[in-house]
């Protein structure tokens, strides 16, 4: 393997590592937020129904 090719591999690893970290953070926060919003909406609906009855 030439030195230049080895360097290109390291560039690929470095950029990939950063993108994977950001992707994991974003998807984790996003999925959790969606789950919490669903729970909150369900609770609001229950409270509205309780208020009507």
């Amino acid at each position: 393997m030439t030195v230049e090719k080895q360097f290109l591999e390291y560039i690929f690893f470095a950029y990939s590592a950063v993108f994977i970290l950001i992707f994991l953070f974003v998807t984790n926060v996003w999925r959790r937020t969606q789950g919490l919003k669903q729970q909150l909406d369900a609770m609001r609906d229950d409270e509205d129904q309780e208020g009507e009855s």
Binding site: F7, Y10, I11, L36
Partner: protein, 225 residues
């Protein structure tokens, strides 16, 4: 703020184009120097996020109103700061392997950055350990003010001690070519806008979570628990 991510996307595309294609190879390090652009963008944003955490923690202690929201943003900036520091360390280690032949050396810049990472992990652990909201707010703010001491040390470490880490801003001026500087600035703004978006996303999640907890507590109270 939701428009931030749509601004971030073209900036990232432009940054990647400039860093990987447009900028010529560096004279001594050759093609491997291209890691520098993402590494520097992440490092500067990490330091800014942790500085924001310091300012917000100070406001938590000083302000009488709006402490809850300020504290929420303080936590979000710390988390994003840790994320960016992790990215800085990961990309830096890979660049170090190419430039110095080793993933890690006990260079002052690397060591102080690793210490900073551990200190802010400690900040998150402290927050997790305290259940009482008011106490958590004050204790974590005080802790954040103390550990911030390491942030300027990270920046100044290459000036204070003998270091093999490259320095961009020296007493004589900027240590890179104008072309490189353009790529650095574009990448920095791409990372900064992304970080702002992540902070707002994380703060929004926390707001929803607290609202849910409040409603649950109210319901349990109505049921007589």
């Amino acid at each position: 703020m939701r428009y931030l991510r749509w601004l971030s996307l073209p900036l990232w595309v432009a940054g990647l184009y400039l860093a990987l294609i447009w900028v010529p190879d560096e004279r001594s390090l050759g093609v491997s120097y291209r890691i520098f652009y993402i590494h520097l963008g992440m490092a500067w944003t990490a330091l800014l996020a942790l500085t924001a955490n310091f300012v917000l923690s100070l406001l938590v202690l000083m302000r009488r109103r709006g402490k809850e929201e300020t504290d929420r943003f303080a936590q979000a900036t710390a988390e994003v700061g840790i994320l960016m520091t992790t990215a800085t360390l990961a990309s830096g280690m890979l660049w170090g392997k190419v430039a110095w032949g080793a993933f890690w050396t006990w260079d002052p810049r690397l060591t102080t950055t690793a210490i900073m990472w551990f200190l802010y992990i400690g900040y998150l652990l402290l927050r997790q350990a305290l259940d009482d909201e008011a106490r958590r707010r004050v204790y974590s703010a005080v802790y954040a003010l103390i550990v911030f001491v390491d942030v300027p040390i990270v920046y100044l470490s290459v000036r204070w001690w003998r270091s093999i880490h490259p320095v961009v801003f020296t007493d004589t001026g900027i240590n890179i070519t104008p072309q490189m500087f353009i790529a650095v600035i574009v990448f920095f703004f791409a990372t900064l806008v992304l970080a702002l978006d992540l902070v707002y996303l994380r703060a929004f999640q926390d707001r929803v979570q607290q609202e849910l907890q409040r409603r649950r507590a109210r319901r349990l109270g109505r049921l007589g628990y």
